[in-house]
């Protein structure tokens, strides 16, 4: 089950609202490579994990992504707090405003609402872990792109933290993939689906 800690994993203190930036950064909230997709992906995949290393990794990284979701939402909230109607119109923020005012709603920068098609939970651990590796890279690239658009250091600071975390997660998923492969026949990783054909709960290092 989940606990909540009443603090952000990394502090966010933005003093200058900027609706234009908010519209871009919202992609990391509800966009295709954003934190909501990441957390739902990993937390969904963990049930059919074939060993406990993978299960633990998916759980703990999925949980951290929820914490990142909170950071992104905080950034957007502080960027849209106290906007005047003039600022809203000038920034091209009116379409979002009319449906959500300055509420936080998961969508991509282009307007596509968050949806489960933006992630997979394929039920095959090799497939799922490869998806997770790709997801972390996609998120990193998105943060790279955001950083090229951000001039405000108060905004860039938490974004840089989030970007660094994606790289670490990539590393962990690679190790989890290796742990799954080590329990399979090295001559034929695809002989069967360990999540479906041999769904035994193994200890972390069992052969």
């Amino acid at each position: 089950m989940w606990n909540y800690e009443k603090r952000l994993e990394y502090p966010v203190n933005i003093t200058a609202p900027n609706a234009k930036l908010a519209q871009i950064i919202i992609s990391q909230y509800g966009g295709p490579d954003g934190e909501m997709g990441a957390s739902m992906r990993y937390l969904s995949q963990r049930y059919t994990a074939p060993n406990r290393i993978a299960a633990a990794t998916l759980t703990d990284i999925g949980t951290e992504e929820l914490a990142h979701l909170e950071i992104v939402a905080t950034i957007i909230h502080q960027l849209t707090r106290g906007l005047s109607m003039e600022e809203i119109e000038k920034a091209g923020f009116a379409p979002y405003y009319v449906d959500h005012t300055v509420g936080i709603w998961p969508q991509a920068a282009g307007g596509v609402p968050f949806n489960a098609c933006e992630f997979q939970s394929k039920g095959d651990p090799i497939t799922d872990l490869h998806e997770d590796l790709a997801a972390e890279q996609k998120a990193r690239t998105t943060y790279d792109n955001i950083l090229r658009l951000v001039k405000d250091p108060e905004v860039a600071d938490p974004i840089r933290f989030l970007r660094a975390r994606e790289v670490v997660h990539f590393q962990r998923f690679g190790e989890a993939l290796r742990s799954v492969q080590e329990q399979l026949d090295a001559k034929n990783f695809y002989a069967f689906n360990p999540s479906f054909d041999a769904p035994v709960c193994c200890t972390a290092n069992a052969k």
Binding site: N3, Y4, E5, K6, R7, L8, E9, Y10, P11, V12, N13, I14, T15, A16, P17, I53, A56, T57, D60, I61, E64, E70, A73, T74, H77, Q78, R81, G82, R140, D144, L147, R148, E154, D157, R160, F161, R163, A164, R165, V167, V168, F170, Q171, R172, G174, E175, A176, L177, R178, S179, Q181, A204, N205
Partner: protein
């Protein structure tokens, strides 16, 4: 092409093997600078942070927190540390210099600074912001070690690292609750309310997104 790659690419990931420099940790793509200093603007190339010893798998320290990773070789033995002579241990993680002497009388060195509770920086007694920052840092160090342990559940160094930092975290959380109110509902104790004046602090104390200009 001199590819800089993270240590993941050294593993048997089919079809993705490449010539990797051994002393690049996963941190490599992140910190695009020559010295482990502040972030440089984005560029495609960068050289490795020299703090990662060769042949030692290190967790990637986050750019800002720089949580020092347990340094364990792939064969399980510890990376060699340079014993100090009770010099002040520079605080890699926190802005405050860590204590130089453990509770058992030994000097704090590079290794014990990561694994001995008494070698981790003391809980600050200043402002609320300082205490929260300390909690953020020591909690991050513990969580990062926990992620590392997810894929290295036999690494004793990492376990010690986690336990030492988690112990500090628990103490700091209790201290914060005593002074300001609980940060974790399930650990809330008597200090969670001004019970006489009907003030349930979980509700009334600030929420994490209220920073910046309020």
């Amino acid at each position: 092409m001199n590819r800089t790659c993270n240590s993941y690419m050294n593993t048997n990931m089919r079809g993705m093997r490449g010539n990797c420099t051994a002393n690049c940790g996963a941190e490599m793509p992140v910190s695009r600078q020559n010295s482990c200093g502040s972030e440089m603007p984005l560029s495609r190339q960068g050289s490795c942070c020299s703090e990662t010893p060769t042949n030692c798998q290190a967790t990637a320290p986050a750019v800002n927190y720089r949580a020092a990773a347990p340094a364990v070789q792939t064969n399980g033995s510890r990376c060699s540390e340079t014993p100090t002579n009770c010099q002040t241990t520079p605080a890699v993680n926190y802005r405050v210099a860590a204590p130089t002497v453990q509770t058992n009388g030994n000097c704090c060195n590079e290794t014990s600074a990561r694994t001995e509770t008494s070698c981790i920086a003391d809980i600050p007694t200043g402002s609320r912001g300082e205490l929260l920052k300390y909690i953020d840092e020591v909690s991050f160090a513990a969580y990062e070690a926990a992620l590392y342990l997810d894929t290295h559940p036999d690494c004793q160094n990492a376990m010690q690292y986690f336990l030492a930092h988690n112990e500090k975290r628990e103490l700091a959380l209790k201290e914060y609750e005593k002074l300001y109110g609980p940060l974790v509902l399930t650990q809330a104790g008597e200090e969670a309310c001004d019970c006489g004046s009907s003030n349930w602090k979980w509700v009334s104390q600030p929420w994490p997104w209220e920073g910046g200009k309020c």
